[in-house]
């Protein structure tokens, strides 16, 4: 392994996530003309960080704000609304849910996932999966898959398992329908698929501890999302599928126990409670 890889692995992965998501957000706002206002982003952060601060004090935790930042970035990237209240409310619910909804020390839901589903349920928000455009998406996939290989992220197995399952299902559909292979490539232009793969389903605080459990969960999420989108012709299947299936993590852990995840293994003693991650 290269020195770069080695040094990458000793840094909290959430710092990379923040750097990537942050630049993605700026690029989207100023180059891709996202239907998102700077004020909505500011409100997301104000609300999300305030709720994080509240719970850290209340529960006397020392987790810091990395996870909350990742959640706020994820929500800003995904949620679109023509109101100013949906974003901050989604951030508050997502991050609040992280502290309030726990099973065996794990989060019942990924905070950004909870925030997204909550925002959609309010009926004043939508997701624009195609807002990124083809060229941006090609660059983003290359960058993220590359970074994953170099850093050997410890929970990348679930991202790969999910992506492989989902794309295999899409490939089977292309074969079945006799479509051109470009259709499969076109699936990768979906920005929510990328964010979901690398920053949401990979959230170690919601995943089964065993590799088998994670693979099973990833496959089921892919299957459900695929059926929702291509069988029922509904929208936002990825987020609903993960939302419905992450609570099964406790079952997988009972069936196949494994080691608990820790963001900073080197600093294990300093960080007993282990920060709550975010969208991943």
């Amino acid at each position: 392994m290269s020195e770069l890889g080695l040094s990458l692995r000793t840094v909290d992965p959430r710092r990379f996530q923040i750097a990537f998501l942050g630049s993605f957000l700026l690029f989207g706002l100023y180059r891709l003309e996202f239907k998102l206002e700077a004020a909505q982003v500011a409100l997301t952060f104000a609300s999300g960080l305030a709720v994080q601060a509240f719970f850290l004090r209340r529960l006397r935790l020392n987790d810091g704000y990395l996870s909350a930042l990742v959640t706020c970035l994820g929500l800003s990237l995904l949620i679109r609304s023509d109101t100013y209240w949906v974003h901050p409310l989604a951030a508050a619910v997502g991050i609040g849910g992280k502290f309030l909804l726990r099973v065996n020390g794990k989060h019942l839901f990924n905070p950004a996932n909870l925030g997204v589903v909550f925002a959609l349920a309010l009926g004043h928000a939508w997701i624009s999966p195609a807002q990124w455009g083809h060229e941006t998406m090609v660059a983003a996939w290359v960058l993220l898959l590359g970074a994953m290989v170099v850093s050997r992220a410890r929970r990348s197995d679930v991202s790969l398992a999910f992506l492989t399952s989902f794309l295999s299902l899409c490939a089977l559909r292309v074969l079945w329908l006799g479509q051109r292979w470009q259709v499969l490539g076109h699936r990768l232009d979906d920005g929510s698929l990328l964010l979901f793969t690398f920053f949401m389903i990979s959230d170690p605080k919601t995943l089964p501890d065993s590799r088998r459990g994670r693979a099973a969960l990833a496959f089921l999420v892919a299957l459900l999302a695929f059926g929702w989108q291509f069988g029922l012709y509904r929208y936002n299947g990825l987020f609903y599928a993960l939302f419905v299936l992450t609570p099964t993590t406790a079952l997988w852990d009972r069936m196949w126990p494994g080691d608990k995840y820790d963001w900073n293994p080197e600093k294990r003693n300093e960080d007993l409670v282990s920060a709550a991650p975010l969208p991943a």
């Binding site: 891709l32 003309e33 239907k35 679109r80 609304s81 023509d82 009926g123 004043h124 928000a125 939508w126 624009s128 999966p129 195609a130 807002q131 990124w132 455009g133 083809h134 060229e135 079945w176 329908l177 006799g178 479509q179 051109r180 470009q182 259709v183 490539g185 076109h186 232009d189 979906d190 029922l232 012709y233 509904r234 929208y235």
Partner: protein, 453 residues
């Protein structure tokens, strides 16, 4: 017989002022523009496909994949002017302002647009094959009826080769690769809506032009089958989608949807040349967005407009276009709703629940591998592609000090900015714009004929 396999079947009217092909609309132009109205709510869709086909009616045919078997009651023809009105209402618009006497003020009206007609191309060919029965080919004629001047068949098929063979032996000339393009629809158990012109009925109807066809169905899919339309494509094709929903803006979920640049001040000679300028702006915007994006030209509450390129459609017009939910809102049923064109705020009382989104799609086979899928968002913000002209004050620098500043400083700066703006919007060279403007000015073509407020 020739056939347009398509959603967008045939030849259609280019958008109002998009003025594509304004110079001529002869038959040598390709089938590059079509118009579709999609009315959508609660899983129900009504599609209206306009066509301005000018060729021999015998040669006209249309094949559209549809999710369910349609019956006679589900299909009708509508008058072409209904669609033209919607087109004009939602078209990108020019707005004029007039500089005040700097030593004095005022302002605006909108300029509508002319409609350019385009006709389509068709593929030629002959058939001849041993005739096989529909059954042997796996083709079932689910329904057969006449709607207006059209004979309609609703087909289902077991395999694409069979369908291709059957259509060919029935006298439809299919483009190359039709079978391959039909296959995904057959596998998904879609039916095929096939229309051709019934000459007797057409004669009886007294309409020289073929009228738009409309049909409705209930299905979860909110999409347009583009792929069939690409079969006779020779280069990019234009599709104007007018999506009418209860509340929210419509966007594509599998192709990026962006707004056309708007509210830009451009040189005043645009008033005569808008039909050339707007298509260049569109082309430029499309290219800058990877040639893979859907461009929004308009989305607005259908009760009003500001400024209005044309009056908002009436309740009656919207119902003709297939809007089916007004009856569900009992009290808001004045026969002539109080439309308030040109008003600046949403109308109250009696307003209709309807929003239009005008999406301009330019697609090509290589980079648009999938049919267009849409979603209705919850976005209720209004947007229009609007370009602004500011006519100069025609006075003398000696009138007052302010006039001097205006003529020597403010005006040249502003006009230079307008040139740069247009250069950025169209990709044209600023020198070309300057010389065109100068020429137009010398010929007096950049002036409003009458000053209006």
């Amino acid at each position: 017989m020739k056939i347009w396999l398509a959603l967008l079947l045939c030849p259609l009217n280019a958008s109002a002022f998009c003025g594509f092909y304004v110079a001529k609309a002869d038959s040598s132009l390709y089938n590059k523009a079509s118009q579709v109205v999609i009315v959508r709510s609660d899983g129900r869709t009504v599609l209206t496909m306009a066509n301005d086909y000018k060729g021999d009616p015998k040669e006209f045919a249309l094949v559209v994949p549809v999710p369910v078997v349609l019956h006679k009651n589900d299909v009708k023809v509508v008058e072409a002017d209904v669609l033209a009105g919607l087109d004009a209402y939602s078209a990108p618009r020019l707005v004029e302002y007039f500089d005040e006497d700097p030593c004095n003020p005022r302002l605006l009206y909108s300029k509508g647009s002319g409609v350019a007609a385009v006709r389509g191309s068709s593929s030629d060919g002959s058939l001849a094959q041993q005739r096989k029965s529909a059954k042997a080919l796996g083709v079932t004629i689910e329904e057969k009826f006449t709607a207006g001047e059209y004979d309609i068949l609703i087909l289902s098929a077991k395999e694409s080769d069979g369908l291709e063979t059957w259509l060919t032996q029935e006298g439809y000339k299919l483009p190359k690769n039709a079978s391959k393009a039909l296959k995904p629809y057959i596998t998904q158990k879609l039916k095929f809506f096939v229309a051709k012109v019934n000459l007797k009925e057409q004669e009886k109807s007294g309409f020289a032009k073929l009228r738009p066809l409309q049909f409705g169905f209930k299905d979860a899919r909110f999409m347009l089958p583009l792929r069939l339309g690409m079969l006779n494509a020779d280069g990019p094709q234009d599709l104007m989608v007018y999506a009418i929903t209860k509340k929210g803006r419509v966007e594509s979920t599998n192709y990026r949807t962006v707004d056309m640049p708007s509210d830009r001040e451009i040189p005043t000679y645009a008033r005569e040349d808008f039909a050339k300028i707007y298509p260049a702006m569109f082309e430029n915007a499309w290219t800058k967005n990877d040639k893979r994006s859907v461009l929004t030209e308009y989305t607005w509450d259908l009760n009003w407009c500001d400024p209005c390129a044309a009056e908002p459609p009436t309740r009656e017009t919207l119902e003709k276009l297939g809007v089916f939910w007004f009856a569900d809102t009992p009290d808001s049923a004045p026969q002539n709703p109080p439309f308030m064109p040109r008003r600046r705020g949403p109308s109250r009382g009696g307003a209709l629940e309807a929003r239009i989104t005008r999406l301009h799609v330019r697609y090509e086979p290589a980079t648009w591998p999938e049919d267009l899928v849409f979603q209705e968002t919850t976005d209720t913000r209004n947007y229009q592609a609007r370009y602004v002209l500011r006519h100069r004050w025609e006075g003398k620098a000696s009138s007052c000090d302010a006039a001097k500043t205006y003529l020597t400083k403010e005006l040249p700066e502003r006009e230079s900015k307008a040139v740069d703006e247009l250069a950025m919007l169209t990709g044209w060279k600023p020198e070309k714009i300057r010389s065109d403007w100068k020429k137009a000015r010398a010929e007096g073509k950049d002036k409003a004929k009458t000053r209006q407020y």
